[in-house]
Symmetry: C3
Subunit: 194 residues, 3 copies
Amino acid sequence: MRLALSELAVLFAIGAAGGLVGDAGHIQAGTTEYLDDSLPFVWESQLWFPLLVGLGTASLGEIRLWLGPPRPGFDLRAGAGGIAAVIGIYALTALIYEKPELPVTVLIATLAGLVAVWLADGRPALICGLLAAALGPVVEIIVVEAEWARYDDAADSLLGVAPWLVPLYFAFGVVAARLGELAVARRSAGARQL
Amino acid sequence: MRLALSELAVLFAIGAAGGLVGDAGHIQAGTTEYLDDSLPFVWESQLWFPLLVGLGTASLGEIRLWLGPPRPGFDLRAGAGGIAAVIGIYALTALIYEKPELPVTVLIATLAGLVAVWLADGRPALICGLLAAALGPVVEIIVVEAEWARYDDAADSLLGVAPWLVPLYFAFGVVAARLGELAVARRSAGARQL
Amino acid sequence: MRLALSELAVLFAIGAAGGLVGDAGHIQAGTTEYLDDSLPFVWESQLWFPLLVGLGTASLGEIRLWLGPPRPGFDLRAGAGGIAAVIGIYALTALIYEKPELPVTVLIATLAGLVAVWLADGRPALICGLLAAALGPVVEIIVVEAEWARYDDAADSLLGVAPWLVPLYFAFGVVAARLGELAVARRSAGARQL
């Protein structure tokens, strides 16, 4: 492991919290709906949801560090801005999911592209983004197949889930990779004040 | 006073003009409505509205300079971009205010966070942002209580006003602080060409 | 000619592809509608549309180079980010065109302003933006007058076309200018790896 347990815990907490905020927006807007309430709810989410998002965030941060040396320099703005960007795109999908899927998906894809232009360091970050863009929707498709949750009819054309999940997860993966880098950069002296 | 009268007047004019543009969007979209027309209208706004926003902009620019030395260097892009960002977020609220309040407020909050990541210089700008985020909504709550204006039912859950006013005013305060810095930076030789 | 044929072809292809994506969003959302189908359709567009957008992109890239020396340094992020920004703004107009025209136009104008703040190098890029902002809507007004296509009633207040076309084309012109600069910068040694 390249990240210490405490660093993984921070990434997990960021991901779980962000997932809860975004998921609550989807539930309240009617984008998604839980069909199975076997587990306790945390805010609007079944317990497994924030756990999975947190686990994904920590895993992608760790994977980023296997893929190459992180950039030096702790940059709180990149971390806070990346988190804000992904949560903002997530909230945006709750506001526009009933609109025609093509322009919705194009808008989310271009925003994800802008996140990558801003925060990706090339191949390692892009691999993390593509991993998330592939695995995230697959997990959600399985969840929908298992009838634990469903997407609204206006946003279910990708085997039952929304096609804009692909760029949304891509942006998530790029930002999780950046957070992995920042966790390492934070160890060095310059960031002790935080 | 750290700002000259002419500099305060420019900040006032920027704030008043931006307030008029944003308010006209709210009125035309039905986000807000004036209930009292005792004063003349300026475009879609009762006269007191642009005066208050202009006064707030100039005050926050001045307060910024009490809180610490401004960054040197006149950066027209930071000024123009900050103004565009706040007016854009303001216009966006007119387009989405009928959507569920949670994702609307989260989206506006993340955009405000991105404005701060871009333009804030740390504590001084954040104090200006927090001052605006606290006082702006309080003034609007008083206006609503006095029945001079009202928010649409879809956007009135914060004591009669919209909860996304808090991050909108925060972004406004951060940008007003940046404009205060830029007013000082513009005095020095390098910016004479503007 | 400052750009080689192959460079003009790349700009043409980027513009044509972006135009097709944006136009398909408009058609699917009902923003615009073709009234004349004399020519073959490419995806959702009549053939002349991607040809004109591609031609406009290549022309503006070339015009940029007549207006002054380009900035050195190949910056893939500026190119990819600029393309993403314009296509994203274009897709956004398909999602919000039914909302009140003032805040829609203000939002698109502020986003165009942010694109210029990011990518314009001053006068040359702004001239390209203004050229596009003037000529693009004029061509579309002629198209509407000729009854080859129409805008929805919610977005036709500028002589039959949408007023937000002006800032949308402005952003397009600024990005096309940047692409012209990047085409030249790419020739020099540092960019050979791409």
